[in-house]
């Protein structure tokens, strides 16, 4: 596996049972491109994120028609791993803070 990018760790105060507020979530975007097949993009969304065929197809159509779609979100480490896996599959993915 890929080593996670080091980020400051926020340790919850001892004895506190409050949830630590998450950092602003990061979103992962996939951008339209003229080369990847629509069926391939749909398949990659299913494979990487476990999305249903319906959800994966809907996201793929968003990418195709609107130019981009948010395909996942979470911590920076999580988003970076998702971007990496999308890059591994040849998709044009980027991430940014929401």
């Amino acid at each position: 596996m890929v080593a996670p990018v080091e980020a400051p760790v926020e340790a919850p105060a001892v004895g506190s049972d409050e949830q630590v507020a998450p950092d602003n979530p990061w979103i992962v975007l996939v951008w339209n491109d003229p080369i990847n097949l629509m069926s391939y993009v749909t398949f990659v969304f299913q494979k990487l994120f476990g999305y249903s065929l319906e959800k994966a197809t809907s996201l793929m159509l968003d990418v195709h028609e609107k130019g981009r779609a948010v395909v996942s979100s979470g911590t920076r480490e999580r988003a970076e791993l998702d971007v990496f896996r999308l890059h591994e599959h040849g998709l044009w993915a980027t991430m940014q803070q929401d």
Partner: protein, 154 residues
């Protein structure tokens, strides 16, 4: 397409039956060495294989490329090895099938970049261009691979 037989069919045991002509296998067999050479080059033609992760954040982008680029190359070289070692196989495991698909798709990304493929263009403007013919042949094979694999997903 509708009347041609698929290049890949999923068998009951979860493996994939491969149906490729001698010419198609020869074509695919010629790809791994070329791709491996390209992966380690600094040519702009492989830009689609290593896209930026951060668009407006130079420091994070530099860090991402520093950590991930070598790993992306390792994963791709590993998939190329799978294709090399299973080139003549009649059946592929799901994992091998996945490696084939990623390799062939990567080649399409490189060829599509070289051909400057755009969304609107006629897919067959120049039937004599060898790169374009390979691009189209690989597109058909990737399409069949996806369809065969999709059958195995929920």
């Amino acid at each position: 397409m509708a009347f041609s037989r698929s290049h890949f069919t999923r068998a009951r045991d979860g493996s994939y039956k491969v149906r490729l002509t001698v010419e198609e296998r020869a074509l695919i067999g010629s790809l791994p060495d070329q791709m491996e050479e390209l992966l380690s080059s600094s040519s702009d033609i492989n830009v689609r294989l290593f896209p930026p992760a951060y668009l407006n954040d130079g420091a994070h982008e530099e860090e991402y490329q520093g950590l991930m680029r070598d790993e992306l190359i390792r994963r791709r070289v590993s998939a190329l090895s799978v294709v090399r070692s299973t080139l003549e196989a009649e059946r592929l495991t799901a994992e091998q099938r996945d490696a084939w698909m990623r390799v062939l798709n990567d080649v399409r990304l490189v060829l599509g970049t070289a051909l400057d493929v755009s969304e609107d263009e006629d897919p067959l403007p120049d039937g004599d261009d060898p790169q374009r013919i390979v691009y189209l042949i690989l597109g058909g094979i990737v399409q069949d691979a996806v369809e065969a694999l999709t059958q195995s997903l929920p």
